[in-house]
Symmetry: C2
Subunit: 240 residues, 2 copies
């Protein structure tokens, strides 16, 4: 039986090279957009509408939606929330459609949206996601959101964890060096994500903003079982 | 005393983000252009003129130069050599100016050429290069040539080795996640480059072309002491 592919794309800027070859794209923005989306969907939010620009988020807000926008790690003035996962645990959001625009994560979702299937990955839904991917048995691309077009460690490690777990079954293969590197970075870090990422630029950035509680949450694997999936431009809960 | 920076840029496509902030750019194309250039300069070649296109190499050849051109890992028809380091050990090349165009390496050299200082790095001149960089005590960017614009493992590991050795002195710091990742990939691979790179796409590509001897040479550290440096568009031996 021919093996399925699992590859890792480091940044949305590299996506063109991978585009069109994968049935499932897993979008990853560990700190913090895709962790927050997993948290929101787990909390019963009806859908998250990802929009690339603050202006679009504002226009939804003007039409009565609850809307979040984050830039440079902080809530944009005038919005209801940013991308702290804790904001999305608010019981008032249950059953609501909410709108979100973030620096990197929603851009990556937007870039991938023509893929047959786009799901949301993070460390907090890692195990459930891998189980579902194995069941689907299709070609998988892990698309890291990066930081403003550049490589980042935490997304790569999460992508490496997914690649590692799929490859370990013997049913998948990887061709690209980025996937091999991601797998090794995961293996180097898996016993202590928090320590390993001490030197990551994004963690230092968020620490300055006093977001250590958020970081700890986002780096703690397997806290939720949901798989958020993009359907008709909205991220909803996959019935799996 | 303020620390100097050492950073790793994964591909020439990412260079814009780093451009202008570094005194020294080390261009790395382990398999095989920069290894071949080190080998040539060590063998007494007077200079290597790197040109980005095959047409330019041809035009030099028409003017009486010995010229090499490599595409897809193979010597381009009509040229004197490709980028096998062994071609450059020929005693007939001593004292000659030669011309070289390769898929990735000469493109990276060309992109970096406006930097104050551009030197050629590889595993085969690693130790001498690091010693010289430490003596210079300036901001260093390791520019990996990648593979057609994409990340590759062997260049990243070589860049990681340089970054690791400079950081270990306590006189340098790194800010970017790409540098942290390169350092960890070096630490994961340093006891067995050949084994670690078994899964690299480039190594598989060259193996298909029966270039295992070249690969072994290029992955064996510290075989030469030269530091090739770009001066007036020619790569010559640095008197150090």
């Amino acid at each position: 039986m021919e093996k399925k592919l699992v590859e890792v794309c480091f940044t949305p800027d590299d996506y063109d090279y991978f585009k069109g070859r994968f049935d499932i794209v897993v979008v990853i923005d560990v700190l913090r957009a895709t962790s927050a989306i997993c948290s929101a969907i787990d909390n019963g939010v009806s859908s998250v509408i990802p929009v690339p620009t603050v202006e679009e988020a504002k226009s939804y807000q003007d039409n009565g939606y609850l809307a979040g926008a984050e830039r440079q790690g902080q809530i944009v003035d005038g919005f209801d929330f940013g991308n702290s996962p804790y904001s999305y645990m608010n019981p008032k959001l249950k059953g609501k459609d909410i709108v979100l625009s973030t620096t990197n994560g929603t851009r990556a979702i937007n870039i991938a949206k023509d893929a047959p299937t786009v799901v949301i990955g993070s460390l907090i839904n890692l195990e459930s996601l891998v189980k579902w991917l194995l069941k689907e048995n299709k070609n998988v691309l892990c698309l890291c959101s990066g930081w403003k077009g550049n490589f980042n460690l935490e997304d790569t490690i999460c992508a490496g964890a997914i690649a590692h777990d799929l490859l370990a079954t013997g049913k998948y293969s990887s061709d690209d060096d980025s996937s091999v590197a991601a797998k090794y970075l995961y293996l180097s870090s898996r016993h202590n994500y928090f320590g390993f990422l001490k030197s990551s630029s994004h963690r230092r950035r968020l620490k300055k903003l006093k977001l250590n509680k958020d970081i700890k949450y986002c780096l703690t694997p397997n806290q939720v079982n949901v798989i958020p999936i993009l359907q008709n431009d909205k991220i909803v809960k996959l019935d799996n």
